[in-house]
């Protein structure tokens, strides 16, 4: 899977930017396929945002400049649809993977319930409550299992967003065809929903997701786990103590152990992930500026 240049027990701590691994152990958090999917999702998302935002803010001078940089609205449209196609393939392959997990791996229950499920559960409500208590200084910091409530929100926001934006996008891509089946006013609603939902998605990913995943003081300036796939033992213990305890209890912790992050995966995280982070922040500045003026 990845190059095993070093023994997992002797990781380098000299690479300043990597959080200091206290125990030196690393555990697999994302599979290689998941990391590739996240990278493609991220790149296609940026492509869609860059080519879509000029339309949403077409009355602003920066929008015409951006449209011209992208090669005009026709070229921007081609990029937009190409990225949409990539995202559609990702969406479809994720659905297929979930279905296979349910049928081939007979893990239907695990999809819907438990620590490896993305479905919101009572514990998430408890976690939100306790997290707010900690925010306000009236409770201890809650500990989380594999998927926190905000990560589940990210997941469902993207899931819902893909369905809504993707669905409306298809209507707008092939209006003559879909008008054979649907009334004309559907295209009014599709245009509205496509733009507003996209604004929500771009606004959410480039602020809330960036903060939760990267920019908050514990992670600043960024967390490369989604690019390397590896979480350090230190972080697992302190950020996801419930998961750590559960893995020990279930006796599966050792099976999750993995070699430290490869240089390539970290470089990808820092340059491509970091570049996306910066691009997203610029986009947010333009959006906020445009909304206020």
């Amino acid at each position: 899977m990845s190059s095993v240049g070093k023994s997992p027990t002797t990781p380098s701590t000299a690479r300043g930017t990597v959080p200091p691994p206290a125990g030196g152990h690393y555990y697999r958090r994302f599979t290689r396929v998941e990391r590739i999917m996240h990278a493609l999702l991220m790149l296609s998302f940026v492509g869609l945002a860059l080519t879509g935002l000029p339309l949403l803010f077409s009355d602003k001078p920066w929008a015409s400049v951006l449209a011209r940089i992208l090669g005009g609205f026709q070229a921007a449209g081609v990029i937009h649809r190409t990225c949409a196609f990539v995202m559609l393939v990702l969406f479809a392959s994720h659905i297929i993977a979930v279905v296979r997990r349910g049928i081939a791996n007979k893990d239907l229950v695990g999809i819907l319930w438990g620590p490896d499920s993305m479905v919101p559960q009572p514990q998430d409500a408890v976690d939100i409550y306790n997290h707010f208590k900690w925010f306000l200084g009236v409770g201890p910091r809650p500990q989380f299992d594999r998927w926190t409530y905000w990560e589940k929100f990210d997941y469902w926001a993207v899931f819902w967003g893909m369905a809504i934006i993707g669905g409306s996008g298809f209507l707008l891509w092939f209006p003559v065809f879909f008008a054979k089946l649907l009334p004309g006013w559907m295209f009014n609603i599709a245009t509205l929903v496509h733009g507003e939902e996209a604004l929500l998605a771009v606004g959410f990913i480039f602020t809330i997701h960036f903060f939760n995943g990267h920019l908050r003081p514990e992670k600043f300036p960024m967390d490369t786990v989604v690019f390397t796939g590896r979480i350090s033992e230190h972080e697992l213990k302190h950020e996801r103590a419930v998961e750590y305890a559960r893995l020990i209890r279930e006796g599966t912790l050792a099976a999750q152990e993995a070699p430290p992050p490869t240089l390539e995966s970290r470089a990808f995280g820092w340059f491509v992930g970091g570049g996306t982070l910066l691009l997203g922040i610029v986009a947010i500045i333009l959006i906020v500026y445009s909304v206020l003026h």
């Binding site: 949403l56 006013w185 929500l200 903060f211 003081p217």
Partner: protein
């Protein structure tokens, strides 16, 4: 005039020079290139220049215009009376007195153009002479001495600003330098020459009411179409708030109608009156693309037409229920009846016009407010808490979270 008889006689005899005469006497002094008056201004008159002028060709004498000089009583007084062109050109002078320039002069404006500003003085040539200031090819420059001169425009507060520079880059201005220069209009084709009047003057060729006829004198087909259109009908009924040619095309900056710059700009001209329709158009893909400066998608005119715009209630309109689908199909080949039920001006604030659209917009508004509102608070509180925890920990043992 004491000299009309000899002039006619001289002209009738052809090229025979007049008897040793007045002009030679004048040129004895004024023929000297360096002749100056007391204050240093030149009083030189070039013989060749005058003899090639229309008055020179007619063998007029200097004293025909400078009537207060007598060759028998020289030297003449330094200060002479102004030349009065009206002594011969009575009809032109009468017309001029009613023009915007003539009225300004009468009102004490001493920079408003008078005869010599356009025609010259000793060098006046016939308008059909290519060297004439009033030749078709030279009028832009002649009018431009004032109306194309920023300093003059500013000091005399000339209406419309530097209109000759604007005109120069317009379709008419460009045509004047091209192959069809002879038939392209210059200033006087719209404004007249001795009939130039302010556009506020009902008699003006460029008054609000008269503009369609003025433009229509060349653009006959468009004029006829416009007369049958909604805008043309409104004007016919006396409603001059309805647009005329220049409201969409401008006056001096007219561009080719097939250029993206014009096609995307004219949308805003429609919006000057139809603000609500412009605003709902901008909510559509068509409106967004054109706002970016690309005209490959539908503009107002693509659906409504331009000179032939009719209300939706008129069956002949491009956007009437009968014709709407055909109009969509101009771009969207194969479009069906459903397709044409798309509302190109759906208004998210108008529940009556499209309730589903209205509620969808409300839902999206609250979805965005809800998500961003919740996470704004969540993020802010988290940020403050994390920062405090980290700072406290750093103070304790210097380690980082």
């Amino acid at each position: 005039m004491f000299c009309i008889g000899p002039i006619v006689a001289a002209a009738a005899q052809g090229t025979a020079p007049p008897a040793p005469g007045v002009n030679e006497t004048c040129l004895a002094c004024h023929g000297d290139k360096d002749a100056k008056r007391a204050d240093g201004r030149s009083i030189a008159v070039e013989d060749a220049m005058f003899s090639h002028s229309v008055h020179g060709e007619m063998h007029l004498k200097c004293t025909d215009c400078h009537v207060d000089v007598s060759p028998q009583k020289l030297p003449h007084p330094e200060k002479l009376k102004p030349v009065v062109c009206a002594n011969c050109h009575q009809q032109e002078a009468k017309e001029y007195s009613a023009t915007v320039h003539g009225i300004a002069r009468k009102g004490g404006n001493n920079v408003a153009a008078t005869c010599t500003d356009c025609h010259g003085s000793h060098d006046i040539r016939r308008a059909n002479d290519p060297a004439s200031r009033t030749n078709h090819a030279n009028l832009e420059a002649t009018c431009g001495k004032c109306h194309g001169n920023d300093a003059m425009v500013a000091s005399a507060k000339l209406p419309g600003g530097n209109i000759v520079t604007q005109f120069h880059d317009s379709i008419h201005g460009k045509a004047l330098t091209g192959a069809g220069a002879g038939s392209a209009p210059t200033c006087t084709n719209c404004h007249g020459a001795h009939t130039i009047r302010a556009k506020s003057d009902p008699e003006s060729a460029t008054s609000r009411a008269n503009i369609p006829d003025t433009c229509g004198s060349c653009h006959k087909k468009e004029r006829a179409q416009f007369a049958t259109s909604l805008h043309g009908q409104l004007r016919h009924e006396g409603n001059l708030a309805a647009p005329g040619c220049n409201d969409c095309h401008s006056a001096h900056r007219i561009q080719r109608h097939d250029q993206p710059a014009f096609q995307t700009q004219v949308i805003n001209e429609c919006g000057n009156c139809h603000a609500d329709y412009l605003s709902t158009y901008r909510d559509t893909f068509h409106g967004q693309v054109t706002a970016l400066g690309y005209s490959a998608v539908a503009t107002c005119a693509s659906c409504h037409g331009s000179h032939e715009i009719l209300p939706v209630s008129n069956a002949a309109s491009n956007v009437s229920p009968q014709n709407r689908l055909k109009t969509c199909q101009k771009c969207h080949a194969g479009a069906t009846a459903n397709f044409a039920n798309y509302d190109p001006h759906a208004n998210r604030h108008d529940r009556a016009r499209n309730p589903l659209y209205y509620y969808a917009a409300k839902f999206m508004d609250w979805l965005l407010i809800g998500v961003f509102g919740f996470f704004a608070i969540h993020t802010l509180l988290w940020f403050i808490r994390s920062l405090r925890v980290r700072l406290a920990r750093r103070d304790d043992d210097g380690t980082q979270g």
